[in-house]
Symmetry: C2
Subunit: 131 residues, 2 copies
């Protein structure tokens, strides 16, 4: 089942990291799980743009990589809870910084997205931190 995602990053840990959370939905999933345990359809409702199939796949990969835990309750109707693993937790600061960077530096609010610019609404050269 596993594609050989983990073959490519012979060169650098950077890719190892991105390999684990850099795909289209994984970062978002992990981000959502920062808030706590979620059931499958809860996640689905939180991320309306991801298809069921994609969500399943991404969750399985995250699980296989030890980033999240999947707990199945032998009930009917089925109940499955997803939560961050210890390892997944270690990504928290990184995820938040990534989020922050996106907010600070790529302030392009699309029609529906209402994220008010912090202060000096200068789209391009918002160089606040660490420079």
């Amino acid at each position: 089942m596993r594609k050989q995602r983990h073959q490519t990053y012979t060169c650098c840990p950077l890719e190892a990291a991105l390999d684990v959370m850099g795909s289209k939905w994984k970062a978002t999933i992990l981000f959502r799980l920062l808030d706590g345990t979620r059931r499958f359809n809860e996640l689905r409702r939180l991320m309306p743009n991801v298809t069921q199939r994609m969500l399943t796949i991404q969750l399985r990969e995250l699980e296989a990589d030890g980033m999240i835990r999947r707990k199945v309750f032998p009930e009917v109707p089925p109940k499955v809870e997803y939560s961050l693993s210890e390892l997944g937790r270690t990504l928290e600061p990184l995820l938040r910084e990534l989020y922050q960077w996106g907010q600070t530096h790529i302030q392009r609010r699309l029609p529906g997205a209402a994220t008010e610019p912090p202060s000096g609404s200068n789209e391009r050269d918002a160089r606040a931190p660490s420079n």
Copy 2:
């Protein structure tokens, strides 16, 4: 030419960030440029696994996103220098943390992998590569 990469991340800045540096080669390119200006073929030699075409494409996208600067010298043979832009610079801490995270948490050193571990190389147990 531009695909609509920037359409998807209506939902969150996280994806905006990853959109700009989360692809297979971009992070590595940016990482390489942290050291300073590089010429095209220099980058190519630094990243033997990326094809010329891919390198070109990724560099152009990074340029279009304002992450790097491309300086063409009207000489022959041609000379083109790539360097981080101001915006690209702002990713530096993030890139280093990402790198660090990969090192700390995904310590699977494959046979050929030698990317000068900076200093405190944390010799944890590497989970056996299960592929």
